[in-house]
Assembly symmetry: C2
Homo-oligomer: 237 residues x 2
């Protein structure tokens, strides 16, 4: 349990899915913190370089001068340190916890890292069709998982949002932006009814709303900044 004199800082970037995770977790636990927006590709701050020398990426949570990196680890850390405050983020049952971790990792490794984000990077219609298919395959497994393990619950976490909701939900704003940029409906209600309804519910949670960037701003950020950067870098960076 954290002491009341805690100093908490979050190094972030407003458009980052991973940073949104840390923001939602802090809000769920009612933790006050100083938010420090970072430059990511040039003129990185000394604080960022010192706090995350391995990856030089956000989010970094700095709790009483000690940095914690990687969004999944930060969310678990927040849940551990502020265990007595607010709702539990990870399920208390070990098996449910393992299932939440499994699908959260799946989202990072599959849905988020590769298939879905690739749709806006493709060069040809054939590539586009292939990546859409990959993305649908990735989402299908999540729809099946919802059906199998979470059906009848409003959230993956049960009655309230939890670890897996945060992991996937933080990405929904980018799903909407990608849908707009590529003119493809990804979380289609006809294809993925459970995910579509869950996404709607997730977006209306109070602790979530204020941390989700507007779709148009993300589209603009993509057009003005990310497109050029992504074209100049390796496919999945």
């Amino acid at each position: 349990m954290a002491a009341s004199g805690d100093e908490v800082k979050l190094l972030g970037a407003w458009a980052s899915t991973y940073v949104i995770r840390a923001k939602i977790a802090l809000q769920l636990k009612g933790v006050s913190y100083e938010y420090l927006e970072q430059q990511l590709w040039e003129n990185q701050s000394e604080l960022l370089l010192k706090s995350n020398p391995v990856y030089k990426k956000v989010p970094v949570l700095i709790h009483n001068d000690r940095p914690i990196c990687e969004s999944a680890i930060i969310v678990q850390y927040i849940d551990d340190v502020w265990a007595g405050t607010g709702p539990s983020i990870l399920p208390s049952d070990p098996y449910e916890r393992a299932i939440a971790r499994f699908w959260a990792r799946y989202i990072d490794d599959t849905v988020l890292a590769s298939a879905t984000i690739k749709i806006i990077k493709v060069k040809t219609e054939k590539e586009k069709a292939e990546t859409i298919e990959q993305s649908f395959a990735g989402l299908s497994l999540l729809e099946e998982a919802y059906e199998k393990s979470f059906k009848g619950k409003p959230f993956f976490g049960g009655d309230n949002i939890g670890y897996l909701d945060i992991a996937f939900g933080s990405f929904l704003c980018w799903v909407k932006a990608i849908e707009k940029i590529s003119d493809v409906k990804l979380i289609d209600e006809a294809k993925f009814p459970l995910l579509a309804k869950w996404a709607e519910r997730f977006g209306s949670v109070a602790a979530v709303k204020e941390h989700i960037p507007e779709t148009d701003k993300l589209v603009e950020c993509y057009s003005k900044v990310l497109k050029a950067l992504w074209n100049a870098r390796a496919p999945n960076n």
Copy 2:
């Protein structure tokens, strides 16, 4: 805490780093289990396909008919379920837990997944030199981390092996095999004195010894099976 009538099965493959993690964790907690060696590339068992339909990979821990997949998640699950038995695998302090998770993830994403294993897949001397350099860079960061966060302790976990020791230590047998196959000393005592001494200590822990395959058997497994498979597949599969 698990009940005494628990039925625990481990689906594994003897040469897999990831399976070794689950074996060590189960042994540390004194859990009895049935070990079921799996065919990985053809004729996969119904039980494996049913238990891990997403990745179709080992290890899978089956606890009272419920499957848990992914080695990092399995080790945490074992630590959670058998919390009252044997030593804790993850540190109890949230910050130390976050640090252990960070470096374990780093090992999976960097040291293990790419740089080190690539050394035996390269086609040219130039590629070999490059991958050796990448591998040394990856190990350097771990050496620095040991110096900074774990120095003076025999293990990353403190007086006993813990989560990070298992994550990295399970790979040491393959490091030795790769050193033999490629004729390159990777965990060189002159370059990485702390890691080299830690590796020696890790290898002599009673709970570890019996689960570590002999170097020559891994070299043989590589020459007879893996080399052909790896050459036929994508670089990091």
